[in-house]
Symmetry: D2
Subunit: 177 residues, 4 copies
Amino acid sequence: MTELTTASGTSWLSREEMDSARERLPILYVDAVPVRVDDHGTVSAIGLLLRVGGDGQIKRSLVSGRVLYHERVRAALLRHLEKDLGPLALPRVPPAPQPFTIAEYFPTPGVTPFHDPRQHAVSLAYVVPVEGDCAPQQDALELTWFSPLEVREPTVLAELANGQSHLLLQALAHLGV
Amino acid sequence: MTELTTASGTSWLSREEMDSARERLPILYVDAVPVRVDDHGTVSAIGLLLRVGGDGQIKRSLVSGRVLYHERVRAALLRHLEKDLGPLALPRVPPAPQPFTIAEYFPTPGVTPFHDPRQHAVSLAYVVPVEGDCAPQQDALELTWFSPLEVREPTVLAELANGQSHLLLQALAHLGV
Amino acid sequence: MTELTTASGTSWLSREEMDSARERLPILYVDAVPVRVDDHGTVSAIGLLLRVGGDGQIKRSLVSGRVLYHERVRAALLRHLEKDLGPLALPRVPPAPQPFTIAEYFPTPGVTPFHDPRQHAVSLAYVVPVEGDCAPQQDALELTWFSPLEVREPTVLAELANGQSHLLLQALAHLGV
Amino acid sequence: MTELTTASGTSWLSREEMDSARERLPILYVDAVPVRVDDHGTVSAIGLLLRVGGDGQIKRSLVSGRVLYHERVRAALLRHLEKDLGPLALPRVPPAPQPFTIAEYFPTPGVTPFHDPRQHAVSLAYVVPVEGDCAPQQDALELTWFSPLEVREPTVLAELANGQSHLLLQALAHLGV
């Protein structure tokens, strides 16, 4: 996961406190796979963000971020979708809270397919149809829509960091595309 | 399930052939629980149809119907939603094919909570957010929206036939409301 | 799917009647992905059957078969698991009826990733841990256990017929392995 | 949820640090609904623990507890099952990581059906078949098996604290019983 805690006051911990917690507790995240669907509800495109990571490298990523204290999971999903896709994206968060899978990001590589050098994060993963206009916000440079076929290409998958290519493939399998 | 095979040419079997198949094979159905969701994706209302059953009794029901030969499950869902809710309902069929549960309707009462005197039907059940205007069609007299609280009232549940009250409660549990 | 309707009296239709139904109605199937799990419930191996298909070709397949009239889905799963893996396999059928996905096998290739030249079949797919000794039965020549890594090899996937390689990959994604 | 963090060294935070984190971050939990299944995988009984809560009151509860830093969700499930049901319980943790739902326990009552005065906890909920002998451990006084019918009785449901009766009913709905 790319750096998603912002200085915008959405976090209720100072950076020092958050860094300390990150060394002690699994941190709860949400991951959203933004999709375009046609009239039949069939997925026609998958959206990936282009970001500059903490190390200056340009990487693709899913919409991803922390759940805050006293925040509903659904509200966290909407907050991160709006933060990354803009206020006119019209995301259709699924009405049921069951995620299609969970992703366990470990600070140690190799424990799971997911890796986050900063922390142990456990993410609830959802597919979210997006109906409006998306405009990348904040640290996201671009949002690119790929067809289900294009997004599986090794060159695209290789641009996803932290094992999110694995989560993307899990989402595609869940969608049956 | 109320009588859902129509004389409109959507069925590819004569009534006699269909009656014969119904005595020999489990018939594949879809059940849809139509819901209204707010901006956060939280369910605010559940829609139930009011129908006149084959026996002349007035009953409530979910949107329900058969999957036809060479028809995708997704297409069957949309066809039955349009048939019952009208062409302007704008149903948002979930992008993934995993149903939240299956309902096994047996011709013999008591085998499962679901009962269909006409046949052994196995139904794939989905929750479907509906965004547009609903106008009951064909044999549906009315579509009524209930709040999650109202729809659980014993008087409402008692109006659902064939064990669909059980399926409705399963949907509410899945939705976490 | 390989031919799974047997002459053993488990089918309630004559072959002619079944052939006729297959041209008229979607037929309800179950697909099971047999797995070995360790003490932690982590999948260590996936089992594939080796069969001689109707065309004389040797192919690998999942455990798969039809749901009969008046048969519970759970009972159909157990019947096909016992038929293919033998009476000592000790399958642990999941307690909840929600399949991890559905597979729509069309007689026309290309409509979905799944294809069955004989019929339109819709299959409910489950992952089933198997704890006992497996001995292939009837038309199954062999059961082979593959590690999650081995089973993804293109040579293994290519031996699965009717698009079941797609279903296997969906199962692996669902399992997170 | 009853107090589940023990002084046994399984926690990597001092009580003061944990109390501080609990005021700042959602804490990741797992909830397990222990079930007995018959040969067909049908649920025959649901297990509830009897505990003395922090306030001295005797309450029933599900198996529930925190996920630790650098602990897999699967390992946390097994640890809490063993802690509460004893080392011979032989739990069959599901092979897939997808929970059947999530439960959001808020420190403020009424935000969700779930309430935990100590913290904001988000729990991943699983149904876990248990095949061995259960012996309540530590602060659990007793484990009682209820039939699916008995466990729904208002007197039983009323003995569950923190909204876990709601989660139990969600599990029963998911199981279709």
